[in-house]
Symmetry: C2
Subunit: 214 residues, 2 copies
């Protein structure tokens, strides 16, 4: 199934995304749409960032999953507000889902709203959620060819994060080839190399996010 | 975007899948629909299986990707016939694509046709490609919660493969939890633990595939 530009579904979503943007502005929340493959480490990265943010900022998470509330339960157990969206087969979040979820989450800023999109490198690409920035996350064990294989989502990124760099020594991941692929698809997005497990690179990413809020 | 059962798109696909099934039977080819996340190691597993199959069997590969011909080039360079499908944004293969690709590939059996679906744990679920069996592949670095988070695709599997088990010692992957998740979604599919890198478990999976051809 392929979504074409100018599809009525996209037009409707864009209208709803504008409503989300206005709501976020009123609430003084800066929203990040986090997109990646299943298992790239989106939730672990969000948790690492929550711990790393300046204490004066509020933060909350909207979790998108086809099924289960595993990730939301984990974030709430750590003391942050989180709301779970289950799409029951839907392969991406929509602005309409986010609009309702923000009301359910009930937080206000100044602060950051993390939106963890469905684990998928294709469907979320064209769906504006009203976010301020989009981060595309890849992980070392997935291999270095993801930007070349899934160019659409990389083109849309404001930042590219390479996660699980602690696996680098156990892997034949070619960093130069990965960087070449990201530059081919997106010349401007900065690349952050991080490990949510060891904490490497998290502070740099957190600082970059905060600098984008100004 | 969600596909509902009885959707006209699915009905049309099912009709086309029946044509694929008849074509495969005439060609004496046993087709395997290989489904997984991006970077779970579908191509590496297919290559490991190609090397492990009995020499009297013919084999070929249809590669599905959003973009690029990286995987097809790799397989052809190793001496096996392969044909690339690029979906340009489409998030799963369809029976119609496979029907045309079989003609392009131009192989006949007795043998095996590997179909590498688009890297995606959602969209390929409801699309019958006319295959004989469906294998769902997960990899250790993705984490142990994939069956619980993407139950639909696991329910459809004839076999579940856990790949990259050589990463197990570097990871907090909980094998018991993964097995529990697979059993919750699919009681009957056998589980094969493999490493395409070290070769562990490949022969057992290869033998199981061949036993299913009879």
């Amino acid at each position: 199934m392929e979504i074409k530009l100018n599809d009525p579904i996209l037009t409707e979503n864009n209208t709803e995304a504008q409503k989300v943007r206005e709501k976020l502005k009123k609430l003084n929340l800066f929203a990040i749409n986090m997109m990646a493959s299943p298992g790239a480490g989106k939730t672990s990265l969000i948790i690492a960032l929550l711990k790393s943010l300046p204490k004066e900022l509020k933060a909350g998470v909207i979790e998108g999953d086809v099924a289960s509330s595993v990730d939301t339960d984990k974030i709430i157990s750590l003391g942050w507000p989180a709301f779970q969206i289950n799409t029951s087969g839907g392969c991406h979040l929509t602005a309409s889902m986010i609009n309702k979820a923000i009301d359910q989450l009930g937080i206000s800023g100044p602060g950051i709203l993390f939106i963890e999109n469905i684990g998928n490198l294709i469907c979320p690409t064209e769906f504006d959620l009203g976010e301020n920035i989009r981060i595309v996350l890849s992980s070392v064990p997935e291999g270095d060819d993801k930007p070349v294989k899934y160019p659409g989502i990389y083109q849309k990124a404001h930042a590219i994060v390479l996660n699980k760099i602690d696996y680098m020594i156990h892997s034949d991941f070619d960093l130069a080839s990965f960087i070449k692929g990201t530059k081919l698809t997106n010349e401007t997005a900065p690349l952050f190399k991080v490990s949510s497990k060891t904490g490497e690179g998290i502070k740099e990413l957190s600082n970059w996010i905060v600098s984008n809020m100004l």
